[in-house]
Amino acid sequence: MPEPITYLEAIKQGMWEEMERDESVFILGEDVGVYGGAFRVTEGMLERFGEMRVIDTPISESLIVGAASGAALMGMKPIAEMQFIDFISCAFDQITNFAATCFYRCGEPLPIVIRGPAGGGTHGGPFHSKNVESIFFNTPGLKIVQPATVYDAKGLMKSAIRDPNPVIYLEHKLLYRRIKDTIPEDDFTVPIGEARIARGGRDISVITYGAMVWSALEAAEKLSKEDGIELEVVDLRSILPYDKDMILDSVKRTNRAIILHEATLTGGPGGEFASFIAENGFDYLDAPVVRVAAPDTPVPYSPPLENFFLPNAERLIKAVRKLAEY
């Protein structure tokens, strides 16, 4: 029986094994080499794979992503680390205009992975806590994933690296060392675009991803005990493209849906998911689709402010109770 490993270790194993398997896979980013990454995700990789495959870059996010694209055009499979995913804004042009449109415009595959720590809860303040999926959600040609479990962290990483399209791989930094699990030792992948049912339930579908999956599960246990309400938790795993079939399937069974995400409310993916359900599952709905998300503010630093900002089990429970009464 293998030892349980952390979410962080799973991400690292996913990259490590792909680098062992395929010489064209390499990593570039800030402090990824000698230092092993700000969160130690790439620790030991420089020693194992050498400086041509683990490259410390200057503070140049546009360069990191642009160089990843250039190398990908040459047949490489680069993994570009954003030290904090917030910094991805500096590479916006490279991602949305060059990388995301590449196959459409000129028929060249562009297998790059852009990964980095996302999300709040660590008092990182406005520039080390963001969730950036909303910013890229409106970009055709990109794929966006965010694993919630140790298993998916590894399986999605492998799929992202093997995918011939640009993939933004979001790691929730709160999960890095907080969750542990035992996962198979064989070479498994988790397909991009497929959700999973994290918990079955007959009453209300909670559609979520990332660290919020754990808040949803926590809420589900409490609601089951205290209210007899059974939540079904759908862990999307892939935000773009998202698993429309599984969302609809779940809503058909429960007839009620709540979308939960840590990204801010307005213009967040929740709006799209809610519209999709309304357009395609209206006949199954017994109540309006509800969104639980962070308020439309920057991510604040001080604990009372940040705690107020972040959605959590308690806030979800409130929304569930209200929706159940509808």
Binding site: F26, M52, R53, I55, T57, P58, S60, S62, L63, I64, V65, G66, A67, A68, S69, G70, A71, A72, L73, M74, G75, M76, P78, D93, Q94, N97, F98, T101, C102, F103, Y104, R105, C106, G107, E108, P109, P140, G141, K143, P164, N165
Partner: protein, 389 residues
């Protein structure tokens, strides 16, 4: 600011150098010394000299056709951006490309596409938004590429290509290839952060990249005096610890030599070079722009420095061409362009639903059949050229 602005609007009265005396100084320094023949480290062979002429002429002809005929006839649906007067830069650069080398051209680098073997008829189809153009109608003008012949499809946000070429040349180093990457930009893109980020990275890792600046003196309507405050853009090389030089971009000998030396350095593992090529955009920014902001005398002055006319004069003086050869060349080119325009126009437009295809990579994509077709054509054309590959 006010005084500068007033000067720029004095149409036809002042040479544009009045706006930027620094550029005049930089340009004059590129001119050959009045006495004695300048020698070059790297010169084209006799065959290459003729090919350079042919490709500069082909470039000019196809662009004239597109801008002055097809566009005006309403057959080109989108923007038209030509490199008139700047042909020596793209053609001489591409003449140094070998198999496996990669260039990231701009919309003014038609010569690179042609020298690398893209047939004129595909260019016309591309401009007309046809499904057999290199972008299958997904983009227009020279926003097209084909990695099989080392051409990266540009996006409008020029300067993007400095980071991309960094990655291309990084991969060359990782794979142990002796190839080089060319990053083409106008002086306009050198104001972007991406340009800096790319060169900085290439210089740190001594990557085989060549940064060519086509300084055509205007980014859209903005003169160099409002774009940068250095005498020479090649002076920026000092900040990266690499060599840089400013040359006359309308002089084939200087262009060929300078790019050739930079290529040699790059292939020898000595890292990147910046080459600033001073030239002039003998048009507006695009076909709809009458360039009224450029003093008229400037067009007259630079017409005298036309790279094709100068090269014809040089080759005549070297007794490599005669009027008869020139006439034959012109008529061959003319025939090819007419046939290309006819072919392009005869191609089908894309089916509307093709809009939805290829957002993500897919193995059944129509891209692959088209690329096979183009491969045959580009291989055949490239084989006719006496380039070193």
């Amino acid at each position: 600011m006010g005084a500068k602005k007033a000067k720029t609007t004095q149409k036809g009265e002042v040479s544009v150098y009045a706006l930027n005396p620094r550029l005049k100084k930089a340009f004059e320094a590129t001119l050959e010394p009045p006495k004695g023949k300048k020698t070059y480290e790297i010169s084209p062979t006799k065959e290459q000299k003729i090919e350079i002429l042919r490709y500069m002429k082909l470039t000019r002809s196809i662009e004239d056709r597109i801008e002055q005929k097809l566009y005006r006839q309403g057959k080109i649906v989108g923007g038209v951006y030509v490199g008139r007067g700047q042909e020596a830069i793209s053609v001489c650069t591409a003449m140094h490309m070998k198999k496996g080398d990669v260039a990231s051209p701009t919309h003014r680098d038609m010569g690179i596409f042609l020298v690398r073997g893209v047939p004129p008829r595909r260019v016309i189809a591309q401009y007309m938004g046809r499904r057999n153009g290199l972008a299958r109608g997904r983009d227009g003008n020279l926003h097209m590429g084909y990695m099989n012949i080392g051409l990266i499809s540009p996006i409008s946000h020029l300067g993007f290509n400095a980071p991309v070429i960094s990655g291309v040349t990084l991969a060359m180093k990782q794979k142990g290839l002796k190839n080089v990457g060319f990053c083409m930009n106008g002086e306009g893109a050198t104001s972007r952060g991406d340009w800096h980020e790319g060169i900085n990275f290439c210089s740190i890792h001594k990557l085989p990249a060549i940064f060519i600046i086509n300084n055509n003196q205007f980014s859209y309507s903005t003169p160099t005096s409002l774009s940068y405050n250095a005498e020479k853009l090649s002076d920026r090389a000092v900040g990266y610890g690499i060599p840089g030089e400013t040359i006359d971009g309308n002089d084939v000998y200087q262009m060929f030599d300078s790019v050739g030396r930079a290529v040699k350095r790059a292939r020898d593992g000595k890292g990147p070079t910046i080459i600033e090529c001073i030239t002039f955009r003998m048009t507006g920014h695009s076909a709809h722009d009458d360039a009224g902001y450029v003093p008229g005398k400037h067009f007259e002055d630079w017409k005298k420095k036309d790279p094709i006319e100068r090269w014809v004069k040089t080759l005549k003086a070297e007794k490599l061409i005669t009027d008869a050869i020139l006439k034959k060349m012109d008529s061959e080119i003319n025939e090819e362009i007419i046939a290309a325009a006819d072919w392009g126009e005869a191609q089908a437009l894309p089916e509307p639903e093709e809009c939805l295809e290829d957002v993500y990579y897919n193995q059944e994509s129509k891209w692959f059949a088209l690329k096979e077709e183009i491969k045959e054509e580009t291989d055949a054309r490239a084989n006719n050229l006496s380039r070193s590959d």
